[in-house]
Each structure stands twice: as structure tokens, then as C-alpha cells.
Amino acid sequence: MPPSSLVPMKKLEWILGICVLSFGFAQVLLRPVHAIQNPDPAVLVRMARGADEGIPKLGSEFDLFRPYISPQETYSFIMDFPFNSYGSIMKQIYTAQSVLAPVLLNPKTVEKNALVYCSNSAQAQRRLKETGYVLTRPLANGKGLAVKKS
């Protein structure tokens, strides 16, 4: 038989435990802090099929470079502004790298070849002048391949 002093202690622990479980119960049933949107069934069906057709592709705007680049080369990546790790511009090169891997993109303008990805031709011309590159193959407005001036 357990000592009689153990019973109140056990009872106290048991009451505390039941309170904690009830608290857990209540938390589960509470409304979330942020409302949950309903998932888009069309996207889910497309994903489940595995083909992903119709779902916007990440960084598809960088696909235009694909036919002209090779993983044997490293390319500088020229944008409207110089690379800054904490600026919003970094998203562009990160996304481009994700799309064009295994080709390496260098945010520093030190490579012989460069990919130019500016918002328009005027910006591209300005940045080419600043960085010492010359456009060799224009691909779209402000986009193209460039080579460092010797």
C-alpha cells in the first residue's frame, strides 16, 4: 500500500495534469491568429498529376539565356543596380541562378562574359558603360549577352 501522504500529492499532480490537457485541448480548438485561405483545387490537381502544367514557372523570364550559355563558363550578371546582399535586387540574380544552374552567375562584374538583365535598353547601356562590357547578342529590351572590353 502506498503511504497516505502520497495520495494528496498524487491528486494535486493529477488535477494539474488534467488542467494542462484541457488547456491543450482548448488551444487546438481555438481560432488561428491568421485566417487560413482555402487551397486552390486546380493547382493541387495539377501538382498531383506531376506535370505542373499551367502553374507559373519560377523565373521563366530567364529562360531566354539558356540556348547561349554553357556550364563550362562563369558569367557575370549585370542588373539595373550593382549587387547588394540586402537589397531587393538580389532576388533577381538568386532566381536567375536557380533557373540557369549549373551555369554559375557571378554578381561581381569580373568575368569575361556577362548576362545583361536590365529593365530597358537605356539602363542596360548605362550599366554596360559603368562595368566595361559591350553587348554582343541582344535578346530582348535591356537583356542580352555581353563581353568585357579588353
Partner: protein, 483 residues
Amino acid sequence: MSAFAPLLISYLIGFLLMHLGVSHLPLKHKPILSFAVAGPLGFGIISLGIFGGYALHAPNGMLLLFTALILLIAWLLQKTFFSAAAENPFSFFSFMRPPLFLARDQRPFFILRLLCVIVFLFSLGIYLKSFLSITCLAPNGDWDARLFWNVKAKFYLRQPEVWSLMFSNVISWSHPDYPLLVPGTVAWGWNWAGHETLLWPALAAMVFSLSIVALVIWHLSVTRNFETGLIAGSFLLSIEFFQTWSASQYADIPQAFFFLAAALFLMHALKIKLSRLFLLAGVMTGFAAWTKNEGLFFVAWLWLTALLYRTKTWLASASERRELIFLLLGLLPALTAICLLKGIYAPHGDYLGSKRTLHDYAHLLFQSPENTRIIFAALKSYTFQTAEWRYLWHLGAAAIGVNLVRALHRKCWDETWIPVLLSVLILAGYVLVIHVTPHPVSWQIKASLTRLLMHTVPLVLIFAFEVLAPENLRPPAATLRQN
């Protein structure tokens, strides 16, 4: 279908290995444990295999992996079904006996259990809705997933002969020295699909998340009762940060899984003193380090904890020394891969090989009281003052208080302290890392603190429920009378 074959093979490998690991061990609810660990264990082994295959001969890396996996599965099947010593895997499922013939006095508890199951299914439904909603909004995963982790998987797959370009310092912003468990897992599924399908990374992320929930249920079912396990599992599923980070496809939920699994195996290993559990604790710790750099800290913390629990005897007996050898053996495969990665492929990282001296680190640590103040203020506000955690940290703090009173009363510091001890050590490590980060401290806090806290959430949760929840739902007077 293309996503289910890689999932099935990962589960098969993980399940057979777990079956071998825990068969004949005096552990309750082994099937729940095996299913909880099987998926992530399979992913871990396969990601190590991919890295090994590519390191040996990149153009045929996947072929080498498949050969190794076929041999491994054949060996595991032979061991499971044809070895006289092995436990019949089908006896595993005997626990599923329907509770039709409960004794009369147990019937109210069956209704309670049913209620817990309904609540669990409700919270699982909410979790799935949230997961799918976030996945629909960002099918490529969140920032780190699509720009770091999945990019590494693309290096594995697109042109295997130049896979090592992923370690190039030219793309230092993509953290070339980051471990490769998540990229390996993603590459594994994509290789089966034949293209970079959006389904697989999301599915793998869900496997890690639900495995944490299953592990929480298993542990609390063993140490407390099944109902407590279900309520704690529901609680975890309802934490909004858990929902968000699991759908983000980041490596933080896998990291949290391996932290939890290693801690639980260590707890049970110290309790029942069986070498195989130390081996499993070592394997899980190794995979934690193979998931994120933070896992390397965890290796040190887990060893420190294991040694602390052996300070009474100072490893006097041969069996205790053997336990630690098994812990080390479990760590070895992943540690070897990490040494190869950081020593040969990517020697320059944010911290290791960053050319900063010890003096620089000491200066950052001790000469910046303002940063220290900011970090601790952020810790307080990101834990106790953030509603999305659903008061988990308050519950954890209450559990520390109760367990402290209990320990002083009973003069016994048992294994229940392990999760909280590890959590404190993990968070202390992160505080140090945030001090010496190459980024601005406030930026680092905003970018990572919630995710870092997430690593310890399952540990705090099981500690809180293990300490505070009753061992038996029956009132104690009745239990004692029965005894």
C-alpha cells in the same frame, strides 16, 4: 505516381532498418516509432548515398546509388524475413486489435480516447488545409527552398558531371558549405519523376512534419498515455509557425525532426541501457548535422548531455563505454560526409574557413553588449509575446518549475530533463552564432529567429506534456486502490 515510388522506397529502407534496430527491445508501440522514423531515416540514408555516389563518380552517381540501395534492401529483407533471430515484422501490428472487448470499467476511457482521436483528426485537417493553402500560394516553396536548397538539387540532376559547381565560391550567397540532406532528398524524387516536379519537395516536407507529430505521439504514449500523445500531437499541429515552416520546404522542420529523434533515442537509451538505442541516437544526431550547420552544434550538445548523465559513474563500466562507442558509430557516416564536404568540396563557409580569427570572434562575443541586449529582447518577444506559438513557451516554463520542485522533492534528476537541457543548449548556441554572424544582427534576427526557435519546439512540447500531463487519466485514488 512518380512521387510515390521514391517515397515508398525511402519508407521501406527506413522501416526495415528501424525494425532491425528496435526488434526485441523492451519498447512499447514500436510500430508507431518505426513509421515515425522510417521516412526521414530513409531520406537521410539516400541523401548520403547520392553524395557518396557523386563523390565516387559523378556521371554515374545515381546508378551507384541505385546499386547500393538494391543491395541494402536485399540485405535488410533477408535479415527481416529469413533470419531466425529477427522479430516477425507482422507481429508489429498486433497492437491494432480493435478495442471491442474492453472491461466495463475501461469503457469511459474508450470514449475519452475516441474524443482525443476526433480532436487529433480535426487538428490534422486544419494543418493539411494550411499546408495545402501555403503550397498553392508558393508551389516552389519559400525563399530559402527555391533559392538555396532546391538549387543544390538542380546541380545534382541537370548535369551530373559538373555537380561540384554547387560548391563554387562564386555563388557564396547560396552557402556552398551547407549540408545536403534536403537537396539530396529533393534530387532523389526528381530523379524518379524525370523532371523537377513541384509535388515532390512539398511531399517530402510534409513527411518530415508529420513524422515529428508521430514521434511526439509515440513518446508520450510510452511515457504518459495515448491520449496525452494525441493532445500534444494536436497541439503541435495547431501551432501556426509549425504549419508555415513545414509548408515552406525549408530545412528547419527536418532539423527539428532529427533533434527530437536524437533526444528521444538518447532518453530511452539512458533509461533501458541498450547499445542499439545509442546507435540510433548517434544516427539521428549525424543526420541533424547533415541537414543544417546548426546540427554540428547539436552533436556537441548531445555528447555533453550523454556525458552529463554518466558523470555519477564516470563511465566506470565497460558497458557504459560501449554505449558511447555506439553513439559515435551512429554518427560516423554523416560526419564522414560532412568532413568531405567542408574539408574538400566547400572549405569556405560563413564561419568555418571565413578567415576570421579567434580574436575577431571574441571581440564580437564580448565587446557588443548592445547586440546581447537586442538578442535577448528578441528572444523574449519572439517566444513569450508571440501568439502563434499558442503559449507553448509559457507551458514549457511552467513545466521547468514543476519538474524542479519534483526533482528537489525526490532528489532525482532523471532523463525527463534531457529535452529541456538540449533546448537550452541549442538556443544558447544560436545566441552565440547571432553574435558572430557576418550579417547585421537585427537582419539576422528577423530572417532566422522564428525558424531557429522552431528547432526546439518539439523538444519543449514533449517536455511540457511529459512533466505536466498525468501518467494515468484515472483519478489517483482509484489507481492507488486498485494497486
